[in-house]
């Protein structure tokens, strides 16, 4: 008996986690998928009624807004955070004296909760007392900056705050990438008399393709899951102008009592995440297992 | 006496891949068995099977007369030295050496005594309180051996223990392992890909390739009478010359014809009366080809050859010439007057020749 246990202990140790993952990840995804095919409202029902929830979802103007916002937010957030992160990484890669301190400053927002970030930016962007009144006080009485309460622009305030929070992290990724480029290749290029900017554009940045991919995956993943920041900054408003799929799902699940809609919107979110992450993880795992 | 290690019809598969096929090895107490072969030949897997670190798929394995086929490593009465030394990084040298005894519940006094013995044997007393990271490669190697020696097992297993050392240290440690073997009269199974290590250390060599035993024998048997082309080529440096040739029996001896670059045929006579097929591969070690006049004996035959290259190597000078479409190396004395591009009279010791079948590569004589 003890011999058997000793031989099988590795499996015994891993089993509870494996079972937990099977139930709480895959089982729960299955449950949500099932319920998304029913007419569940306040309570889940289990008779399948086809894709009516998805039809309702795509007919809903609020979901339409959420998806549009995800496009705008996702595209701007990913592109700007990557460009800014790369720029900062290259600037910091020039043998800066106080590099450690500057890096610490650029990256600290990542340690904060999105709720804290949202609260801070909500105050800064407050039309009555924030940046708007500050600039007016500088002698520009006609200056207007009311994005936070303007339905057409509120989504950009979320982009602004999200970039503030995450760009330092992208910088850290890129900086690590820049530092991992083979020094001998760069020395060879310098000996050949190639100017610094060409060394970056022709040698270093192309060799960082995997880092770009990683950064993209992480940022896309963050964008799709964005929830806390919207809640703290705009609460999804004005109206539902800044709804994202995550806030839509939450509203349906916990305030509207529309479980069917919550489940179907969650499934769409998961499909989007998986469409991005699965090919990436698959290739990573394959590369690792020879 | 019962064999200390007896492997019988051992098979090892990883899924559908056969790693080891029909391995049969038996060694006596005090034997130094070397498993040698190119990387991927299965020698380390075989050692892991002997240690019990890998389950075997089929066959039996006995250590000290006891069946150990399904016994866990700790109960096999073995000790093992690893290629990376595998010293426990967070433990001092002393703790590394005594960890096994501690796990087995040996009392402190015995532990101290054994530690002292082993430390003085290996001259590592000043290192006992250091961490592995504070040791040089050679010192780590000694500690790893100390960890094995302290166990005083029936069988020692060494997995390429010298391959992480630089060339000079490797030769020193090789001598020391050999000395240890002689003083302790230990039984050892030793894995290496280095045929010189195999030759110098072993009392018995097993040559493996593709999971199949190619030949088992003493170093001299393996060197002088390789069982097939693979063994002939693998053992010895520079490698044995393997020259395609035509053989014919003229009643009293064997006549060998080798094609030359110039289009003529080099004819050599082997006094041995052998029955060979027409197409053979002739195997002759470089040291069995000498400069004419420096080698005498019944089987020696001289022939003029074109020297393509001269490679002085200190004690010897190697001369390369083309025979039968192959680069043939001869090992000459250092003061030879051979010059590239000139002809030289070479003496071939035909009594030392091995013959191999062209198709199967098996030894014919």
């Amino acid at each position: 008996m003890s011999e058997w246990l000793e031989n099988h202990l590795p499996k015994v140790v891993l089993a509870p986690s494996f079972i937990a993952v099977l139930i709480f990840v895959y089982g729960f995804i299955g449950w949500t998928a099932w319920v998304s095919l029913t007419r569940s409202k306040l309570l889940p029902k289990y008779e399948i009624h086809g894709f009516i929830q998805y039809e309702r979802l795509f007919d809903s103007p609020r979901w339409d807004t959420a998806i549009n916002n995800l496009y705008i937010f996702g595209a701007l957030f990913i592109v700007i955070a990557m460009v800014l992160g790369l720029l900062l990484a290259i600037l910091l890669d020039q043998k800066i004296r106080v590099e450690g301190a500057i890096r610490t400053i650029y990256l600290y927002p990542m340690a904060l909760s999105m709720i804290v970030t949202g609260t801070a930016w909500k105050w800064i962007l407050n039309p009555g007392l924030g940046i708007e009144s500050m600039v007016q006080g500088w002698g520009f009485p006609n200056f207007e900056f009311d994005w936070l309460v303007n339905p057409d622009y509120a989504i950009y305030t979320i982009v602004l705050a999200a970039i503030w929070q995450s760009s330092g992290f992208v910088m850290a990724l890129f900086l690590a990438g820049l530092r991992s480029v083979d020094g001998e290749i760069i020395k060879a290029a310098q000996v050949d008399g190639i100017p610094t900017w060409r060394i970056y554009t022709a040698i270093i940045i192309p060799s960082m393709a995997p880092i770009f991919l990683s950064a993209f995956i992480v940022l896309a993943h963050l964008a799709i899951k964005s929830f806390d920041l919207v809640i703290a900054l705009t609460g999804g408003g004005p109206g539902y102008a800044t709804d994202l799929p995550a806030t839509y799902m939450y509203a349906m699940a916990f305030s509207r009592g529309d479980i069917g809609q919550a489940a179907s919107s969650a499934m769409i979110m998961m499909l989007v995440v998986f469409a991005i992450v699965v090919p990436y993880l698959y290739s990573e795992l394959r590369a690792k297992n020879d | 006496m019962a064999p200390i290690l007896d492997i019988n019809k051992l098979y090892k598969n990883y899924g559908p891949v056969e790693i080891l096929k029909d391995i049969n090895i038996s060694i006596e107490p005090g034997d130094f068995l070397v498993l040698v072969g190119p990387s991927g030949c299965g020698k380390s897997t075989l050692l892991n099977c002997i240690a019990g670190l890998e389950e075997i798929t089929d066959g039996t394995l006995a250590i000290g007369g006891k069946d150990m086929t399904h016994v866990s490593p700790k109960d096999r009465d073995i000790a093992m030295v690893f290629q990376s030394y595998a010293l426990y990084p967070t433990m001092s040298v002393a703790k590394n050496i005594t960890f096994g005894m501690k796990v087995r519940g040996v009392d402190q006094a015995t532990m101290d005594a054994k530690l002292r013995d082993v430390a003085s044997l290996l001259q590592i007393e000043p290192l006992l309180h250091r961490r592995p990271s504070q040791l040089s490669g050679g010192q780590r190697q000694r500690v790893a051996m100390g960890r094995a020696l302290v166990r005083d097992p029936k069988l020692f297993l060494f997995d390429e223990p010298l391959s992480n050392l630089d060339a000079k240290l490797r030769v020193e440690m090789r001598t020391e392992i050999k000395k240890l073997h002689q003083t302790l009269d230990a039984s050892i199974v030793y894995v290496t890909h280095d045929q010189i290590e195999a030759m110098t250390l072993a009392t018995k060599i097993v040559v493996l390739k593709g999971g199949i035993v190619q030949q088992i024998g003493t170093p001299a048997e393996i060197y002088n009478n390789p069982a097939n082309l693979f063994v002939a080529d693998f053992m010895g440096s520079p490698a044995m010359n393997l020259i395609p040739a035509q053989a014919s029996n003229n009643g009293s001896g064997t006549q060998i014809s080798i094609a030359r670059e110039s289009g003529e045929t080099l004819v050599l006579n082997d006094a041995r009366n052998l029955s060979l097929p027409q197409d053979v591969i002739l195997g002759l070690r470089p040291e069995d080809i000498a400069e004419a006049g420096f080698r005498a004996g019944a089987g020696v035959q001289e022939a003029e050859c074109m020297v393509d290259m001269v490679e002085p190597a200190g004690a010897d000078t190697y001369v390369v010439s083309e025979l039968g479409g192959k680069q043939v190396t001869a090992r000459l004395h250092a003061e030879t007057s051979a010059q590239a591009g000139k002809t030289l009279n070479l003496a071939f010791d035909m009594s030392k020749v091995s013959y191999f079948a062209k198709e199967t590569g098996e030894r014919l004589n």
Binding site: V13, L173, G183, M270 | K74
Partner: protein, 299 residues
């Protein structure tokens, strides 16, 4: 990397002054960006130290004329989250009570899992690991509804143990990943040597692997602590009045509509809620970054 700022092949046309000017430009740019990242923290801090009157009349970025800690006191023990007015304090302790056991448990289990996956490979171990890894990336919305029902069935809905449970379950993927990636770099021969020495599975973990693990334990603890402390989605979905974590309470304070809007209290509360993770970041930034990059890059 090699020194790109001082190319060895300098041409004569490149005068020294233009190089110095470029250098200055570089530092000015870096400084401006530093200001951009520091500005919100600065504004939060100064606002939290101002009186409401000064906030209304003064500028966003001006220093407080009169430093007052009243807003901090209110934020800690008097601000209203909905109907209750006890400040952040009880919720801050809720977060501590959730984070400490959840971090401990998920790290311990992750260490054992990683040890198994990296050092005791058995048939199917890689598939199990891949399944766990994919679990890291699901949007949690997809498990929110069934988890709410399950917690109800288990009788721990809206409780702190319920939240601990949820955080441990969904933290396992990452903690396993961290330890697995650390332990695969340790040669398998070490485990083999210990097995020949007679040590078993747990003994090897305890005597050999755990003493080696300090760096990765620090990384994992920091990662998990930051994740759990900063969590909002699970907190808002699975808590009830009295068991809410600090992020949920902060959001409630900021959005509470009763009485006058006290911006200084909001800012003080936001800083209080952010302090623990900020502190960890400042003290152990190196490990924090290592966790971030490991959690996102390595698959």
């Amino acid at each position: 990397m090699t020194d790109l700022s001082m190319p060895q092949t300098q041409t004569r046309s490149q005068s020294n002054t233009s190089k110095i000017a470029l250098r200055w430009l570089l530092y000015i740019l870096l400084g401006l960006f530093a200001l951009y990242y520091l500005m919100p923290l600065f504004v939060m801090l100064t606002t939290s130290l101002k009186s409401l009157e000064e906030i209304r009349t003064g500028s966003l970025i001006s220093l407080p004329r009169e430093v007052s800690f009243d807003a901090w006191k209110t934020a800690w023990s008097g601000a209203c989250t909905g109907i209750q007015c006890e400040g952040l304090r009880p919720y801050f302790w809720n977060s501590v009570l959730i984070a400490v056991p959840a971090v401990f448990l998920s790290t311990l289990i992750g260490a054992l899992n990683g040890y198994v996956v990296a050092q005791w490979r058995f048939k199917g171990a890689n598939i199990i690991f891949s399944l766990m890894l994919f679990g890291c990336f699901i949007p949690f919305q997809v498990v929110l509804l069934p988890m709410a029902r399950l917690l109800g069935m288990m009788g721990i809905a809206g409780t702190i143990p319920g939240l601990i449970f949820v955080h441990v379950i969904y933290g396992l993927g990452f903690t396993t990943l961290f330890f697995r990636n650390y332990y695969v770099t340790i040669p398998a021969e070490l485990t083999k040597a210990a097995r020949v020495d007679g040590a078993g599975f747990m003994r090897i973990f305890w005597s050999i692997f755990l003493p080696l693990s300090l760096p990765i334990i620090v990384v994992t603890v920091i990662w998990q602590f930051t994740q759990i402390w900063n969590d909002f989605l699970f907190g808002v979905s699975f808590s009830q009045a009295g068991t809410q974590p600090v992020t949920v309470a902060l959001n409630n304070i900021v959005n509470s509509t009763t009485g006058v809007k006290e911006y200084n209290v909001d800012m003080a509360a936001a800083i209080i809620a952010g302090l623990p993770t900020l502190f960890v970041y400042v003290v152990a930034g190196k490990y924090f970054i290592r966790g971030l990059t490991a959690g996102s890059v390595k698959g």
